[in-house]
Symmetry: C2
Subunit: 247 residues, 2 copies
């Protein structure tokens, strides 16, 4: 469904697969990257999940998310080691066989010195039947796309390169625009005004985000809308309220 959708809203979920995130060993950076990236191209990230390297957990999450959202993007678990089980779990979730994909074999055979495309490395060529490959410019081993599920590597640099590879093929909606109004006050001081402004501008989403800087509370007010004029009108009302309350 490349191109722009009729209702102007395209939704996605991001699924991080990996024990190392849940144990705290590795701090996830892929959700934040995907949130920025998808927002910038006109896809609304509606949910993110982190699940462990466990067969039933991965399959259940993929099936729950692919039924609810236009796209599911995953990161993690497609390397050559025994704990990389994402490809087989996706195949299982979608009810298709996992095959040694000739296209992936060709890419990896060309990448390794003769005789070094070992059984472990062949794991990275196991792809669910019927999937399209996602190019990996960084380390060659491809991701894949099957149905509305896009399966990418966990290493941020590789995941990001894969996002670049698939972005031109994705359907996008009308971009969500945003303006930020900083307020040098705790959010409780401006809360009632913001609620009234939100009521006056129902086609916007007004978010209030407190920050604690050296014990002093300030607030960032973020106004979001797909319509530039509506956004501007609401942001002006917010700026006016901030100015009045700062006086």
């Amino acid at each position: 469904m490349t191109g722009q959708k009729a209702d102007n809203v395209v939704t996605a979920a991001f699924l991080v697969i990996g024990d190392e995130i849940l144990s705290g060993r590795t701090k996830d950076r892929n959700i934040g990257f995907a949130a920025d990236y998808l927002t910038s191209i006109g896809i609304d990230l509606k949910e993110a999940r982190v699940v462990p390297d466990e067969r039933e957990e991965i399959a259940a999450a993929v099936n729950a998310l692919r039924a609810r959202y236009d796209y599911v993007f995953t990161s993690g678990g497609i390397g050559p080691t025994h704990d990389d089980i994402t490809a087989e779990c996706i195949a299982e979730a979608l009810g298709v066989p996992l095959i040694l994909d000739p296209r992936a074999v060709a890419i990896l055979e060309a990448h390794y010195p003769p005789g070094q495309f070992t059984p472990a490395r062949q794991r990275m060529a196991r792809i669910p039947q019927g999937a399209d490959l996602i190019e990996n410019k960084v380390s060659k081993a491809p991701g894949f796309k099957i149905g509305n599920v896009y399966v990418m590597a966990g290493v941020p640099a590789i995941m990001q390169a894969m996002m670049d590879a698939i972005a031109p093929t994705l359907a996008t909606g009308k971009k969500m625009l945003s303006e930020t109004v900083p307020a040098d006050m705790p959010e409780s001081r401006i809360a009632e005004r913001l609620a009234a402004i939100q009521d006056t501008h129902p086609q916007t989403l007004i978010g209030s985000y407190p920050q604690a800087d050296n014990g002093k509370f300030t607030t960032q007010i973020v106004i979001r809308s797909r319509d530039e004029a509506i956004l501007k009108a609401a942001a002006e009302d917010v700026a006016k309220a901030v100015a009045e309350l700062s006086g």
Copy 2:
């Protein structure tokens, strides 16, 4: 259920609530913090989710997670503004009324100058009936605990203070221990050996994490177990394999 559980495993999920994470405006740091924190006290984080500030999404996620895990920890959406809807959603999810909690009112009334405990600030005293409060040493407005659900602020400094407040009351399991063996090689070179070591030591979890540093691939191998002797034996086998393959 304070104390140590009989089967030695206590599980948890972490739920981040907030449009700002899914839009990319704010990068979540609470999942990573909670992962480290819970691991260190003997609670296994088994799943994390990020959902938007939408009533049905919050309630559905809380109900799904509280049924599956010993504990659910949430962050975000308990401030004074119109977009802070977590307390009402949790009340709805648990089927209890949301009340103006006298204990929370007392804390906040004492905190603000006379006459400044405004209606917006009173929002922060709305707590599901039957909940216990969670102390907030940073900015006073309390979190709360109802059933196995712990509801905390989104601002990392406040969330972290709340974790400190509740940690002594949590049941914990036998701590998951870990050792890391670095390998100066791409993980595909050691993959077959790791699979064999994992088979030999079924009571461990062996994870292999590739890193790309300036175009050079190295690997961190993490062995985890709740049993120190089993952990040590497996880690020694991994270190031996790394040494042999490095030679």
